[in-house]
């Protein structure tokens, strides 16, 4: 029997505000900041302290809601979610429950079967908890993160495979980056996933018991966790068993999910309206002004790139995958005489190879757009050959410097002088009579081999068009 997965995703994203959700404490890097330095009576739950809303957090949340095509509610309600845990200083988390900020949105993802729409059920605001760590039989609590604004984005159970889950997560990640509402820094836990997974017989539209996998904190964990869970549930049904409703953890080391709480131990959060905060009432004009200030989003940018720069969807997709990369591409285009398509292939090829090899962040591209434009233009006007330009680019990545200077220092300028090239070709043909004979006998693929020899002998400086022309002529001369 074939099984199909039914998956809904809850994403928690920290919002890029200067201060916390309900107090004036600074939001800091929770990994590098000294513990418990950015705290106050409000975010440590001191008796009598009261929450006050951070307007910026609401603005960022509205921005996301609008970008996801949600309906933004002009009145929403904060609610208390009650449970005990040491990282939750008040004994309740201020969240939103039955009247969230935004509902009914959608995100388009690309699947093997084409474009698919994933419905967004709700987008709401809440506060983050503190962070626990354990060492030497002690537990430590750091409240620096307590009260940091969090956005929860919940889908309908529209995802059908780990690949779709990943596509959705990647897309959402990109959108949040485009909106500049989240740092996107997954390693710091600024985006965290929870997946609700059930499986059913292929073709059925029934919804079976689901399990909830918590704390999937990377794309990898998200894919592996859902993959494992789908398989696990499928095997249970295959042997006639019943899937229990439970909350699961995921162990990245073993690649397996494990039970955290069963249905019986499920929390009853006893939600009720937060009496310390009046209903959040938004002005429609304010919402509209946020809508007007929304940046171009990935889909729109992709369409534009394909049209404006005559790129293929594949080329455009790479460039728009990160806003900073897209911006960089456009800057190079604006500073270059070369066709956008040529620039795109340089960025997709050598450029990305170095970015990835050197593990560089898009925020820290070491090469000025102006310099890359110049280098590509030098290829265009044949000042350097393509292979020399690669050497120059490598040098720029490793040690910096202007392309023109590197070309000069390394003596990489392309040579078009016929006499020079002719001498080298003559030597190659004389040194390799066997290959000449084979070529003349019809093994045309050897042309590339001769070209390679010539490039090596000239250290890539010879103008390839000229070289090819002279080479063909010289070989033909041999025939006589």
């Amino acid at each position: 029997m074939k099984y199909q997965a039914v998956i809904g995703l809850e994403v928690h994203a920290e919002l890029l505000t200067k201060s916390k959700m309900f107090c004036g404490c600074a939001v800091v890097d929770s990994i590098t900041a000294k513990p418990n330095r950015y705290i106050c009576p409000v975010c440590t739950g001191q008796p009598g302290a009261l929450p006050v809303l951070n307007k910026k957090a609401i603005e960022l949340a509205v921005r996301v809601g609008l970008a996801l095509g949600c309906q933004i509610h002009t009145e929403s309600i904060f609610a208390r979610k009650n449970y005990f845990y040491p990282d939750l200083p008040k004994g309740y988390q201020i969240s939103q429950y039955d009247q969230p900020l935004a509902t009914d949105g959608k995100i388009q993802i690309e699947t093997e079967a084409g474009i698919k729409e994933v419905r967004i059920r709700r987008v709401h605001l809440e506060e983050d908890t503190g962070k626990l760590s354990h060492a030497d039989a002690h537990s430590f609590i750091d409240y620096n993160r307590s009260g940091v604004p969090l956005l929860e984005i919940v889908t309908e159970p529209d995802l059908r495979s780990p690949e779709e889950v990943r596509a959705y997560a990647t897309k959402l990640h990109a959108i949040l980056r485009y909106l500049d509402v989240n740092s996107g820094d997954m390693e710091k836990g600024v985006i965290r996933f929870e997946a609700n997974v059930s499986v059913r017989e292929e073709g059925s539209d029934q919804l079976n018991t689901r399990t909830e996998i918590k704390n999937l904190n990377s794309f990898r964990a998200l894919t592996l966790g859902t993959e494992y869970e789908i398989q696990r549930q499928g095997e249970i049904y295959a042997r006639g068993g019943i899937v229990e409703q439970e909350t699961l953890g995921f162990n990245e080391a073993t690649g397996k999910t494990y039970s955290q709480r069963g249905k019986e131990e499920a929390h009853d959060y006893r939600y009720f309206p937060e009496p310390d905060l009046p209903p959040l009432v938004l002005d429609s004009a304010w919402i509209e002004s946020i809508r007007a200030s929304l940046p171009e989003l990935p889909e729109a940018k992709m369409r534009r790139f394909i049209e404006q720069y005559e790129l293929t969807p594949q080329e455009a997709r790479l460039l728009i995958s990160e806003k900073l990369l897209a911006d960089y591409f456009e800057e190079v285009v604006s500073k270059s005489k070369s066709p956008a398509k040529m620039i795109s292939s340089w960025i997709a090829g050598e450029f990305m190879r170095y970015m990835n090899d050197m593990n560089l962040d898009m925020a820290k591209i070491p090469i000025d757009a102006e310099d890359l434009a110049q280098l590509i233009d030098m290829v265009l006007d044949k000042t350097v050959s393509g292979s020399s330009a690669k050497v120059v680019l490598a040098e720029m990545f490793k040690n910096g410097g202007k392309p023109a200077e590197i070309v000069k220092a390394k003596n990489l300028a392309q040579v078009s002088d016929e006499g020079f090239i002719q001498d080298i070709i003559t030597k190659i043909l004389n040194d390799n009579p066997k290959e000449v004979e084979q070529f003349l006998a019809g093994k045309e693929s050897l042309l590339q081999w001769f070209m390679g020899q010539a490039a090596r002998a000239t250290r890539g400086k010879a103008d390839p068009t000229k070289t090819k022309e002279l080479l063909l002529k010289a070989v033909e001369d041999k025939r006589k």
Binding site: G45, G48, A49, Y92, D268, F272, D276
Partner: protein
């Protein structure tokens, strides 16, 4: 005449003409507290050193600064649920026995800025849960009029301190009658303010939707002086009101009578069970108010009978959540002789909370539970709206309503403690005001067997000025507020 017998206004005149210093005044109160309070037990903490330091600061300002207010250099006490930086703030709970906040409540900050002098913190029912101070985790406060009787609650310590001359005024806190009931039982004047009129920032919450800080003093005029100092919008409290604060005391000085005011008498508050002496005192008081020029009419608040269940349901629910932070992790009592995290929680809360607190946490948790929320909490909120609408309708035709504060005078210590329901019912006339968020003033209007009787004057939102005016005019024609318990002059 001794210093504690003066009104705030009279004391202010002595201070500003420098006939006495705030330090002398403060020493006199501290001396009285140390002499009398071991029997009355109105204070949980007496802050001698800080008080004298604050008094000396006040003296400095009285000497040099023209901008002194009527409260500069005046001592006061505060209910122990109001946060005071560096001074124990216990809510009379063992779970907060040694808790010293690292910040001041906004109301305290405002009194610091006027250079008032904090004498100490008053006993209360644990977290405000009770009507007698018998639920204090430490000890029961005695009614200064008769030590065998309760002072009322939950701000019983504050009421007893003012009534016994151990503080010229006190900051109380009213969630479901907690200022008015003890004010009535102890024969002083107490104001339950409009919800949001005084910032709740730093007030340790019992029921966030109902909690209000309010002044307790010997007269409506003194109450007005304190209200002016502590009221106002606070950015740290999102539920505080934006409206500017009136100059209440100035308007009291100008008022001459109550002409033009229409006073409603809700018939649901004069029913069976009302002590006949309370009833007759109230009727006399209403006649006196009528003779001051007010028109008196009968009105109806038809949903009054639901006020008690609605109030207790909502308050238990919110309290169960508000008390979750006392988990032994960050402050207060922490039972570390425990096997696990759950064990820390269980032992800390088992040892730290009293019986009434535990009862309310359990009932409130139940009322909010999945499957019960709609039937209890949500239903209660709907009925709350009906009760609020009762008042709105009554205030369409009336400027204020007058009722008793309590059906009886102060009951005996131990009389109701074993019957929680009976105890809850003693709040029958006071809780509706909290459900509606409106202000109400309690003024003494009689004595029965040597125990005070209180009149409750209720008004629409932000009608404090009208209520204080009625109270003030009434007190200008009567002398109940100038009668004092036997311990006023000294211990019997």
């Amino acid at each position: 005449m001794q210093l504690h017998e003066l009104s705030i206004q009279e004391t202010h005149e002595l201070l500003s003409s420098r006939k006495i210093s705030s330090e002398e005044l403060t020493r006199a109160y501290l001396e009285r507290i140390h002499r009398l309070d071991p029997q009355i037990k109105s204070y949980v903490t007496v802050a001698d050193e800080l008080a004298l330091e604050q008094a000396r600061d006040a003296d400095q300002r009285l000497k040099t600064d023209e901008s002194c207010t009527p409260l500069t250099g005046i001592p006061y006490s505060a209910k122990d649920s109001i946060s005071t930086r560096g001074i124990n703030t216990t809510c009379s709970s063992k779970i907060l026995e040694n808790y010293k906040p690292f910040y001041d409540a906004t109301a305290i900050k405002k009194l610091i800025s006027t250079n008032s002098v904090l004498l100490g913190k008053n006993n209360m029912d644990e977290f405000g849960m009770g009507s007698s101070t018998e639920n204090s985790g430490f000890f029961t406060t005695r009614n200064p009029w008769n030590f065998d009787h309760v002072p009322g609650g939950s701000s019983g310590g504050s009421a007893a301190a003012v009534a016994a001359g151990l503080a010229p005024f006190a900051l109380g806190e009213d969630t479901g009658g907690s200022v008015r009931m003890p004010a009535s039982f102890c024969g002083i004047t107490g104001l339950k303010t409009t919800y949001g009129r005084v910032s709740r920032y730093g007030l340790i919450p019992l029921v966030s939707s109902f909690d209000t800080i309010g002044p307790m003093a010997l007269s409506a005029y003194d109450v007005a002086l304190v209200l002016e100092a502590i009221a106002g919008h606070d950015r740290k409290d999102s539920t505080s009101r934006l409206e500017s604060v009136q100059n209440y005391s100035a308007s009291l000085k100008q008022s001459e009578n109550l002409r033009g005011l229409r006073i409603g008498i809700p018939k649901e508050y004069f029913v069976e069970g009302l002590d006949p002496e309370v009833d007759s005192s109230l009727r006399t008081a209403i006649k006196q108010i009528e003779s001051l020029g007010a028109e008196v009419v009968e009105v109806s608040l038809p949903h009054t009978q639901y006020a008690i269940p609605v109030y207790y349901l909502i308050s238990f629910a919110e309290a169960s959540s508000n008390l979750a932070k006392y988990d032994g992790i960050r402050f207060g009592l922490s039972e570390r002789n425990a096997e696990s995290l759950m064990d820390v929680y269980l032992k800390t809360r088992e040892l730290g909370f009293g019986a009434e607190t535990k009862r309310r946490i359990m009932l409130g948790t139940f009322a909010l539970s999945a499957g019960y929320y709609d039937a209890y909490y949500l239903k209660a909120q709907k009925v709350r709206t009906l009760i609020r609408q009762d008042f709105e309708k009554a205030f369409e035709s009336c400027d204020a309503l007058i009722t008793p504060v309590s059906p009886t005078t102060a009951f005996r210590i131990g009389e109701k403690i074993t019957n929680p329901l009976d105890m809850y019912l003693s709040d029958v006339f006071v809780v509706a005001v909290n459900l509606a968020g409106i202000p109400a003033l309690s003024v003494p209007c009689g004595l029965s067997n040597g125990l005070p009787i209180g009149m409750q004057i209720m008004g629409p939102l932000l009608s404090e000025e009208t209520l204080l005016r009625i109270g003030h005019m009434y007190q200008s024609q009567t002398d109940w507020h100038t009668k004092h318990p036997p311990c006023w002059n000294d211990l019997p």
